[in-house]
Symmetry: C2
Subunit: 201 residues, 2 copies
């Protein structure tokens, strides 16, 4: 803005809100005004919640999940079958799988995928922690649930290679037609994979 | 989520973020994880900025703008021509006009529009304050810049009627083709208005 129309504290709030994924400079202004209008219902509680999260958030030293306790709620859940570990790229994938399934397994968050072009090597990911967890014993199955991208598949191969000597079954997610998906809109790779992996009705 | 996968403080943060306009339940989770990953660059500062805004934000008692001082930065700006008042529905409209123009005028925020169906009457808006400002004298022109909706136009008429006895020029924004707009996509009302208000080249 050429001329100042509001206080520097509010300008600062708008600038920071604009950095939140899903908000841009325009929607950040709208969000800031909405927060100010709902001062006691939203602005105050959200500020408090951010402060709480800042003070209490921890990365689980076992699986890499985000929680306020370490080991996290998933690792400490005695009702889970901790002999099966689902390996995911990101915490958001862990949460997505938990919403979708009732697998009741343990997880392992890699924190990304191998990407030599971006300078991400095996030491930048939580792969060593996974191998240590498996080497300790008591793990029956590793389900590799990384994204079906080139980097994801490279990472899956790397993990498979490094777990080869250990006594553990390694599986990956099935490729195929998404539920509710239309064949006409699918790429050739997915269609070929779905045909190859066809199942009896 | 059926089973707890993260701490209650983080769940609470996601719930509150989902109430921010522009974010939904899904993008709120993404935003929360992004904030946690950028703990010191974003999570901490944003929490602090919200706290600052909560403590300091004020509604200008003169014009209704949102600021950290009262009267606000616009009302106290001596370089502005305070004899011209632009009347807007919302603070966001004030900010939008300030970004777009260099009118250097004063403003008056109504805080909404007359809407009998929603139970919004003249007493729910900051119309009395506007009439008082004009009655005090020293005001040359009132530019009514409310939205071109039925409610906006009703409000404009109401204000015009109530300022009728006072010695002030009342104008409204021009209707016409938006800059960069294509005629084919415009409604009949806009096209008729643009034709009626045609100007010599």
């Amino acid at each position: 803005m050429a001329k100042r129309v509001t206080g520097p504290e509010i300008e600062k709030l708008i600038q920071l809100l604009a950095k939140v994924p899903g908000l841009g400079p325009r929607s950040a202004r709208r969000a800031a005004l909405h927060l100010i209008k709902k001062k006691d219902q939203l602005l105050g509680p959200l500020g408090h919640a951010l402060g709480e999260a800042y003070d209490k958030v921890k990365i689980c030293s076992c699986c890499g999940n985000v929680d306020t306790i370490d080991p996290c709620s998933v690792c400490t859940d005695v009702q889970r079958d901790s002999s099966v570990i689902i390996v995911v790229e990101d915490v958001s994938d862990l949460w997505a799988l938990e919403r979708a399934t009732a697998m009741n397994t343990a997880y392992h968050v890699l924190g990304g995928t191998l990407s030599p072009l971006d300078g991400v090597g095996p030491d930048d990911l939580n792969i060593k922690g996974l191998i240590e967890r498996v080497a300790k014993g008591g793990i029956r199955e590793i389900i590799i649930a990384v994204n079906a991208t080139v980097e994801g598949q490279t990472t899956a191969h790397y993990i498979t290679d490094h777990l080869a000597g250990l006594d553990v079954k390694i599986t990956r997610l099935a490729h195929g037609v998404p539920v509710g998906g239309e064949l006409d809109y699918l790429d050739e790779g997915t269609l070929s994979a779905a045909l190859r992996a066809r199942t009896a009705i």
